[in-house]
């Protein structure tokens, strides 16, 4: 509960602050608080991922982006603020309404505890024989899903390379050139140097 209040305070601060450097730091703290909540819910694997990706790597990537752009938010004239507020309130209200149906945390009669979860917990010991059932489910029972996730990561990196990877390399050929992959096209470099 205390952590949730902290998260709320950090969220409000993120919205209010204009200094994007501080905002990036606060998003990292937000992720870390989320990771702490996952630990309290005994979801250590998820907490691990949240701490490593949300608080660690994505903060660094955001800082790298800030280094390329500016670090203060541009103040836009508040023309549609009332309409935006109404829209946000309606969306938030619908989302809260959606959570009303959900079972309480730790509810034994919740649907999720009566489908495949008991089977995994009872049978994975003899079928997979690993102490960590999460690993059994992720890598074996749900191997297709994890394969799909790996492809998502692959596609993300390939997309980043396709969009900004090539321009980076052609720009590097201007000055200290120690690039040795040999597949650069250097036509674009003159255009990029001027910026």
């Amino acid at each position: 509960m205390v952590l949730l209040v902290f998260m709320l305070a950090v969220g409000v601060a993120i919205v209010r602050l204009r200094d994007l450097f501080a905002v990036v730091m606060l998003t990292g703290i937000f992720s870390l608080l989320g990771a702490a909540i996952y630990v309290l819910m005994d979801a250590v694997d998820v907490a691990f991922t949240e701490a490593a990706v949300g608080a660690g790597v994505s903060t660094v990537l955001m800082l790298g982006t800030l280094a390329l752009t500016t670090s203060t938010e541009k103040v836009t004239p508040e023309a549609n603020s009332l309409a935006a507020l109404v829209l946000v309130l309606i969306t938030g209200g619908i989302l809260v309404y959606g959570t009303l149906d959900m079972p309480d945390y730790g509810d034994k009669t919740a649907a999720i505890h009566h489908h495949v979860v008991p089977r995994y917990l009872e049978k994975s010991g003899e079928e997979i024989d690993l102490p960590n059932v999460v690993t059994s489910v992720l890598a074996s029972y749900r191997g297709y899903d994890t394969l799909g996730e790996t492809f998502v990561i692959f596609t993300a990196a390939a997309g980043v390379l396709a969009i900004i990877g090539r321009r980076r390399r052609s720009r590097r050929t201007r000055g200290d050139d120690d690039d040795d992959d040999g597949d650069d096209n250097e036509e674009t470099s003159t255009k990029e140097v001027s910026s």
Binding site: I128, S140, Y144, A157, D178
Partner: protein
């Protein structure tokens, strides 16, 4: 990313001291994921974090000298191919796709080996993807 970082002695010394431990911890998370929390995804991110730390302190140029672009790009594909290849191998051995039971005579041993292969594929892909994305962003300001 920032050349002036290279003059910060404390950062340089501390990061040099920390990086081996980060790499070791990533390997621990990778291979101990069967028994405790963790697995390929988390291990890959931690492994990449060591390289990203190096890149932040010493600059992207030096990072690229440690791990060249062709290494991360091939590892990016290699991880996915390891995962998908494990599935193809189980097909050839007479099972369903990603059915590790057929890998070994004892089904649980096959499961262990299959999970090990699959998790290492995930780890390799995630680590090289993170390094690739970081270098793509951090290498821009030049």
């Amino acid at each position: 990313m920032k050349p002036e970082m290279q003059h910060k002695v404390i950062l340089r010394v501390v990061s040099k001291f920390l990086i081996p431990f980060i790499l070791l911890f990533a390997l621990y998370v990778q291979w101990h994921g069967d028994f405790g929390p963790g697995g390929g995804f988390q291990a890959g991110v931690i492994f990449a974090a060591a390289f990203i730390l190096y890149g932040l302190i010493f600059g992207v140029e030096k990072l690229r000298r440690v791990i060249p672009a062709w290494v991360t790009r091939s590892c990016l594909s290699l991880g996915v191919l390891t995962y998908a290849g494990t599935g193809v191998a189980t097909l050839i051995m007479g099972g369903n796709y990603l059915d590790y039971n057929v890998i070994s005579h004892v089904t649980t041993h096959g499961q262990h080996l299959g999970i090990l292969l699959v998790e290492s594929g995930v780890g390799v892909t995630v680590a090289s993807a993170m390094i690739t994305i970081f270098v793509a962003f951090a290498g821009q300001d030049r």
